[in-house]
Amino acid sequence: MSASTSSAKAAKTIVRPYGDTTGDGMVQMSFTLPLPHDKKAEGAALQLAKKMGIDPAMVVHAKAMGPDFTFFVVYGSVQHLVDLRDVHVVERDYPLLSPKEVNSAVKKVLRRPLVVVGACIGTDAHTVGIDAILNIKGFAGEKGLEYYSELTVVNLGAQVSVPDLVEQARVHKADAVLVSQVVTQRDAHLHNTREMSAAFREAFPADKRPLLVIGGPRFDESMTVELGVDRIFGKGTTPGEVASYLVHSLLGERKKANRP
């Protein structure tokens, strides 16, 4: 027992899925094949599972959905190993601040409210994300940015065109622009974001450009350079994280710029 525990610790850079025993590699998955439900279809499901590295695989459930499709649930042991040394993620590189700390940092360093302009751009009408971050109501028990006394929030809402967003950012002298993109059909979120960042680059000199922050459930957080934005926030981001990032990024830079 103790031997296996210590060896598990030693080998912590290599992991496999865990069903009910260390190293069993058990996974579950479900999928549909465009086949009528019969023995052959179940065989096809097993072959697919095997090609996906699940061996042995068990078709635990197969159900016809109409005459032409079959739905499968498959359990099995996956042969693949994950080497944690090869796993790269975007870690939070700024301290998490409370609303109070955010407000006092803005007051001290900026000596005026920090202006945030938010919008859903393009044809995207899903304001859930931007509202969760901006509305006083907030998300996950945290109040939105409107709650922060030293932040001025302008929420432009849904389906804002890029030129309008640039114009509004200029009118309100935005320090940061927050854009939410939920619809991903035909990569609309990526096209819209690129269009947006290009427009800001064109409209503002580099040192006057507001901080560009985008968020949405289907973004890859490491794509900032490719999309031309300063930060990407994924699923589950809370208002506090965004506020902390804004302080870190905007006030940190300002401090640097003010140095002789």
């Binding site: 479900s30 999928f31 549909t32 159900k63 959905m65 109409g66 499709f69 739905f71 393009g122 044809t123 995207d124 009408a125 304001t127 859930v128 509202d131 509305n135 109501k137 809402g157 849904a158 389906q159 619809v183 059909q185 035909r186 609309a188 459930p217 699923k235």
Partner: protein, 530 residues
């Protein structure tokens, strides 16, 4: 047309011990709040109302750039003589003078070779008369479609409540059709074709069969026709009339409502305030368009679905529960004023309380029973959880099961089927199949549980229902004091502030002159076909 709501739920009011006087007061306040808006709507027309009038007279198609002829014609008329008198007088006057048909007049107008005028005296009455004859062709087609629907329902019968409502949304009408037919075979009673994101903000209705849309398919007359024809086929195959739904909301409500009547759609999303709140469409534009579109729905025998569920996606479903009730009462008032009957009111509400809230299911039951008690004859539209669907599909599947159970216990008329992959992907074939299994399981095992379900008169559920009704009355009183337009401007609904002088489409609102004529509006008001 058969009423879909079982009378067996009619005693919900007694069960919840709601005071009939309070209910009467709520309705009378809704009328007081709504009446000034109706009179405002009657004093205005919009570009879309005028375009709808031309569509009813049969003007179809678009120019080479895809701009519909109705838009081209209304724009030219407006530029030359304004729309204060309506589009009918100048257009039919031009037709009488040139001896051209409607499409030719539109083409000539677009080419700049036609001068419009506002006819007067004898010429005005003549133009008015022929325009009425022109528009009545569309009315007769709407009437014939309604008869045809009734005939088909008479032949096949209505499905038992709740009607199972499923969505297709591929963006390509030719992909939507097989998916819709498959969904009907799997058990859907109502098929909704979700529109392309952004269509509600187009100030024109696209033309023809369309194959590309974002997260949905454009609502066009041809797409309506193709889908209705396909579902007629499937209805015959299944021996069950499968209803078709689309969305009127947006800048083109009157036109889309007209097209729906002309192509025998069966239901339409049509909320009195949705466009204002969630699409930032000008309030006056919305109320004018809404009234005309609902008159068309009334005439076409179309069931409307209102959008109260949307409030709960932005506001908190417990704190804002009474705003749903207020909106339902306002929607009911506006709908009835426009001629809709109880069986046509798919008033919306939703299962959107944060599931971690203690007793959230009891709260949901209280809200759903309250709606049932207040609108015993209306086929309520029961919307599944979306806001608190997280990507944990297993939790979501259970959550949807509870939603279905609440629907069974409270006699909902139209049940929008919840997907466990909400917030993850547009529904897969398997998602729909699993979701329908969920519905069937609940209704098979507990569909009649409402017979045994009598919340204690002074228990949690009844007290909560009475509390929400009380809050709704308080809010309605404030709305009446301030005026509805001001309440909308103050962010009363869905936390969205929408002042009456702002928003999209305001430039398409026109105050009527004393000689204003709209033959479609007249035929709708009079309820006649000629």
């Amino acid at each position: 047309m058969t009423k879909s709501t079982p009378a067996k739920y009619a005693d919900a009011r007694r069960t919840l011990d709601l005071d009939p006087a309070t209910i009467r007061k709520a309705r009378s306040l809704a009328r007081k709040a709504g009446a000034p808006v109706v009179s405002l709507a009657k004093r205005h027309t919009t570009v879309s109302v005028e375009r709808a009038t031309l569509r009813l007279a049969g003007l179809e198609g678009a120019d080479v750039e895809g701009i519909p002829w109705v838009n081209r014609l209304v724009d030219v008329v407006r530029e030359q003589v304004g729309l204060e008198h309506g589009v009918a007088l100048p257009v039919w006057d031009a037709m009488l003078r040139t001896n051209d048909d409607l499409i030719t007049v539109a083409q000539k107008a677009a080419a700049g070779s036609l001068t419009f005028r506002i006819p007067e005296g004898h010429e005005a009455s003549r133009a008015g008369k022929v325009s009425r004859a022109g528009v009545s062709a569309g009315m007769r087609r709407i009437d014939a479609n309604r008869k045809q629907r009734d005939k088909l329902i008479g032949k096949y019968g209505n499905p038992p409540a709740p009607w199972i409502y499923l969505i297709v949304a591929t963006g390509d009408i030719y992909e939507d059709i097989p998916q819709a037919q498959a969904a009907a075979r799997e058990g859907a009673d109502v098929i909704a074709v979700i529109r392309s994101t952004g269509q509600s903000l187009l100030d024109y209705v696209p033309e023809g069969a369309t194959r590309e849309g974002y997260a949905g398919t454009y609502a066009t007359q041809e797409n309506f026709r193709l889908m209705r024809a396909a579902l007629d086929e499937t209805s015959a195959e299944l021996g069950r009339y499968v209803r078709l739904t689309n969305y009127a909301s947006g800048l083109c409500m009157p036109e889309i409502a007209s097209l729906a009547g002309l192509e025998r759609l069966d239901m339409m999303l049509n909320d009195s305030m949705y466009g204002i709140l969630f699409r930032d469409i000008n309030p006056i534009r919305t109320f004018v368009d809404q009234r005309f579109s609902r008159q068309i729905h009334a005439r076409a025998g179309i069931i409307i679905n209102t959008g109260e569920d949307n409030y709960l996606t932005t506001a908190d479903a417990v704190e804002a529960a009474h705003t749903v009730t207020v909106s339902q009462l306002l929607n009911e008032y506006f709908a009835k004023e426009a001629g809709l009957e109880d069986w046509q009111l798919g008033l919306g509400h939703a299962f959107e309380i944060q599931p971690d809230v203690p007793d959230s299911f009891r709260l949901e039951l209280a809200h759903a029973m309250l709606a049932r008690a207040l609108f015993p004859e209306a086929p309520l539209k029961w919307m599944p959880p979306t806001k608190h669907m997280t990507g944990d599909i297993f939790k979501g599947f259970l959550h949807d099961g509870f939603f279905n159970l609440a629907g069974a216990l409270t006699g909902q008329g139209i049940l929008l089927v919840g997907m466990m992959t909400e917030a993850v992907v547009t529904p897969w074939l398997s998602d729909r199949d699993l979701a329908l299994q969920n519905v069937r399981y609940v209704f098979n095992t507990a569909g009649n549980l409402h017979e045994d379900f009598r919340p204690a008169p002074d228990g949690f559920i009844a007290r909560r229902a009475r509390q929400v009704l009380g809050e709704a009355v308080d809010l309605l009183e404030r709305v009446v004091d301030d005026s509805l337009l001001e309440a909308i401007g103050d962010g009363t609904f869905g936390l969205m502030k929408r002042p009456a002088h702002a928003g999209r489409g305001l430039d398409g609102v026109i105050k009527k002159a004393s000689g204003y004529l709209n033959p479609a509006a007249d035929l709708l008001d009079e309820g006649v076909a000629r």
